[in-house]
Amino acid sequence: MTQETIDKLVKIEVSSDKLEASLLLGANINPQELTPLYVATRMGELGLEQTSERTSAVLEAIATYVCNEGKPLRHRIARGTTPTHGTDGRLVLVDAVLEKHETTQTTARRDTDTTTSIDQRERSSVRWTEAGAVIARIQQATIGADGRDVFGRVLAARTGRVFEVSPDESVLVRADGACIALRAGVVEHSGRVLRVSNRLVIDGDIDFSTGNIRFPGDVEIARGIRDCFEVHAGGSIFVRDLVDAATMSCAHHMVLEKGIAARELGSLEVGKDLSARYLTNVRAVVGRDAIVEAEVQNCTLLIGRDMKSPGASIVRGDVSVARSCEIAELGAPGGAATTLRLGQIASVHDAMGALASAGAKARDRVDKANARLNELRSVKGRTGPDHAELLTEAQFEAQTAAKTYAKACRAGQMLHGFVDKHTKVHLVVRGAVHPQAVVHAGGWTATFTQTLKGPCVIEMDGKGELTVRMMVGKSEIVPLRKWARVVREEQHLNSRRVLEAMGIAA
């Protein structure tokens, strides 16, 4: 076999991506001439360097060829490495935290439920994080690894792009890439922006699409709230549209731009001020002021401070106001049973009742213990150790009773001081008070029999009588009896009465 022949029969082929080289052997090459050295020389001509790996691949190829008695053969004798490209840095939101939070809420609610059915309204789709939770991680960019082709040339890898997050004061980015919420709220992420907003904005209604809302910050609802849904907020609640029979609570203010028509099903709890256009058939507890624009209809309201509704009429229902109350009308011209309680803090009212009875009991106990003690002490003559023991017991009882009583008295006085400071009888009527309206104030019940036309102020005078002071003309002061049947409430409970029950003075 000539040199030419063998040169033709033996070929080395390099793949187009230069990552592979193969040895092609034609048929019937003289094994004597097909030496590793020959192949190596051919490889060298192409610029393929020898490595032990390649040499053994060549040997294997030759051996296989010889064994196959000269059948044509294609054998890979060299391989390069592909470059591994770097990955770009990116932000990965930690869903688990959000999901988990949602589930716990749901289960917590379910536990209190006696029925096993799941309330669809509890399937809130609103996700928010607690402060301190890891809300996202920055996956760092990698630089990748360069590859080499069969000729040993470098195949450069593409370096990943670095990702940087620009957090605001609500997110802390740790050196390891973990992003931690610094406050509770909604995680907002867009591009490089990552923040936790303490204002939850619902674009539409609160309905099955959103589920009930429990959010630590402010909640803003662009439209209304459907029947029987709940909204609870750690901050304030703003509702732009109508509220049906919903249950709502918030620690700060509640602003209902339209109003609530609760059909006697919904209830409101407001930590600070409640502002609404109207309140219909709702039960509401307001920590501070109630500001109603138009009407309070058939509502039960407990107002911790003032009722500042100069334009509103209260029709039917039962409204308690701790301090001053300013309204347009009370009751309706046709006659509607409307109750207004002035100078009363509802929650304290119950406590007063409990305290009055406890105080009376404590007083009783003291009397009994002292009687027993006196009885034992009056025993004359020599007394044994048993007597001493009885006496010790009686003294213990007397002292314990005295301490309990003293505690009750202190509580009574405290309560009285509190009530005195935070209540007053002061009703400003811009329009009129209509017949069948009832005003409870200062131990009196005044049932209106005639229409009282304002503007006027109903107050207590120095003698404790209810009077009306006209705000126009001569601003004369007239007893309320002129318009209403005023009756003293025998059962009326006030802090002074509590103290009396205990046998002490204010």
Binding site: A388, E389, L390, T392, F396, Q399, T400
Partner: protein, 125 residues
């Protein structure tokens, strides 16, 4: 603060316990007489003991003497009656740190307890 009450009367122990609870001491063990106390005290390692004088089986004085033979420091308040008052000196010599005469008011007892503990250096630590 571990406190051992030694008194044959459950009522008295209850009263003492109530007074101790008001002072914030709730780690209390009760014993019915001196004998009972001697068997309970070593394991309980009381930091204060209230001991009645007149008890069946072993009276308070005997108990104090027995206890003081091995332990010199545990503060002991003796609960006595008027009748035993003339013998209080004897109890003090036996190692009683303070005493209270029945009938006593809860205030008096708590005052005696605080007074006694104030004088015991270990109680301050």
């Amino acid at each position: 603060m571990r406190i051992l009450l030694v008194d044959d009367s459950k009522t008295m122990r209850n009263i003492q316990k109530a007074v101790l609870a008001q002072l914030g001491y709730t780690e209390v063990m009760e014993a019915q007489d001196g004998q009972d106390a001697l068997s309970k005290a070593p394991a309980f390692r009381p930091e204060l003991m209230l001991v009645d004088w007149n008890m069946p089986n072993m009276d308070g004085l005997t108990f104090v003497k027995a206890w003081r033979s091995t332990n010199k420091t545990t503060p002991i308040i003796m609960v006595t009656t008027e009748a035993e008052k003339s013998r209080v000196i004897e109890a003090i010599k036996a190692g009683v740190n303070n005493y209270v005469v029945k009938p006593f008011t809860p205030d008096l007892l708590s005052q005696r307890i605080q007074e006694t503990l104030a004088k015991t250096p270990a109680a301050a630590a």
